[in-house]
Each structure stands twice: as C-alpha cells, then as structure tokens.
Symmetry: C2
Subunit: 141 residues, 2 copies
Amino acid sequence: MADTTGDDLTGALIDLFREVDALFSAVSRRMGITPQQAQLLCFAQHRQPSFGEAATLLHCDKTNVTGLVDRLQRRGLLTREADPHDRRVTRVHLTADGEELTGDFQDAVDTAVAARFASWPAADRAALLPLLRAATTALRA
Amino acid sequence: MADTTGDDLTGALIDLFREVDALFSAVSRRMGITPQQAQLLCFAQHRQPSFGEAATLLHCDKTNVTGLVDRLQRRGLLTREADPHDRRVTRVHLTADGEELTGDFQDAVDTAVAARFASWPAADRAALLPLLRAATTALRA
DNA sequence: CCTGGACAGTTGACACTCTCGACTAAATGG
DNA sequence: CCATTTAGTCGAGAGTGTCAACTGTCCAGG
C-alpha cells in the first residue's frame, strides 16, 4: 500500500533493497568486516581511489573516510599511498591480505546470489539483468 | 568482473541496491530522521510491532530496538503500549505526529521514484514489477 | 614572484547504530 | 511449584556519520 502510480514500484524496490542489504550484511559479518568496509575494499580493488573519490562512491562525508581507512589500515588490509602528481591527495591501495579478503568476500556474495537464482529459468534471468541495469540508471538521475 | 554465472547479476543487484540506499538515505535526511528510524516508522504504520518483531523486521538485535524506540519516543513520534495479552511484551504505536511524518516520508519516496521512472514506457514498467518481486522472493530463500 | 582562493585530508566533538553479556520480570510446562 | 524460556532493559565498547575548524598544497591573477 502507499503508492502513487497505481503499481507499487516503490515498495518492490525497497523490498529488494532490504534483501540485498541483508545478504550483503550477513556475508560481511561472516568475513569479520562491516558492510561499509566491504564496500570500500571492493572499490579499492579496481581503482585506487583518493579519499574524496571514496567519499563520493560511498555517498558519505570525506571525514568519515578517514576513520574507515584508519581501521582497515590498522588491520593491514590497505595502505595510504601518496599521489605522485598532487601532494594533497592520498590514494587507497589494497595489500595482499586486502586483495585476498576482498576476493573471498565477492566470491561469497556471488555464490550466494547464484545459489538463490539457480532454479530460475534462463529466460527470466536474461530478462532480469537489463531491467535491473535500466532501473539503476533511472534512479541515478 | 567478479562473477560466477557468466552474467554479472550480483553486480547489477548491488548497483541497484546502492541507488535505492542513496535515495532512501537522502529522503530520510531531508525529513530529519535516520534511515533506520524511517524503516521502523514505516513498519509501525501497518502493524504495531513488539520489540522482538521490530528487531526481526530490521534484521538487527533486539537491544538495538530499545535505543531506536527511545529516540523516536523522545521526539514524540511513537509510544510504548503494553500488550493486553502478555505483560512481557511492549508494542510500538505511532502518534499523530509519527503518522504524519511517516506519511510525508513515504510520499516523498514515492514521488522521487515515480519521477525517475516517469519517462519509462508502460511496457517496461509492467515487466519490471513482477521481476523485482520474483527476485526478492528468490533472495529471501 | 606571491598572495588569495580553492581543494585534500585530518582532528575533535557529538549523535546514532549495533552487538554482546548480564539482568529483571513475566509466561509456561513439567 | 519450580525450571526454563521469552521480552525487554542496561552498560560497555566498537563502528558509522556529520559538522566546524584546521593544516598543507595547488593554482590563478596581480
């Protein structure tokens, strides 16, 4: 209930959001990190984000990133590296331990998702993926 | 990148999750409450959950709910009501202010979602809703 | 040059979230 | 009637998140 468009798209989005959140949190916890830490580690895997970029990616204030990085660095999962082109910026690099933990985390999430969709017909799964991407783009606007 | 099934369903789910999270958080903030408080208020609108039920719905420990309710009660958005059938349980009831704020919150989210999907063809929107629901059910397993 | 404004990260203060273990009170079932 | 279970609370402690104020660096315009 509670809707404007006649269909309850909002409710469906939030229900899905809650399930993904639950899965993501459960796996994070099992790995001994918080969901926010998991997110930062995943970002740091592809790029080597500056603190400001990390803040943007995480949708939070840059001052928050300082503490987040502090805790992960204390555990040896990442390091702060000076940016060679701009001495103001510090970049986040994963350590070998960080890479391993991040890989394990992603594998665990992938496995869990794959298991839950294992019984889906290929046609449904094929239809879902582009719609999810389109919905994401729509929401980003 | 990072995937088991060939398609990157996991990535798409997490991307969508992040957008919904961003929207939900932004609206909560605009309303002067936290996302967790918003969730609890929404639940309390339909049912009158006990603390344990609230904890289950919010995927968190019951001790967390005590503080959550404390803060919302201090702001006059809800009350603790004794359950007539079991004197151990306390139920959460929204006040008039709480109902109003919750309604405003839901309207704001609905409006934002509707606006972002306004340009979607009806056919796409019709296809999206059942797939979202099915995906939610799949993940719940 | 060199100075002022913009930008990157840090710090301290503060509120909220979240969990754990220990506790009280009430229900329940031998 | 007593043992157990269940509901909520409390205190301690770690993490998340914001804000305002600060330092250091970069990059113009004068």
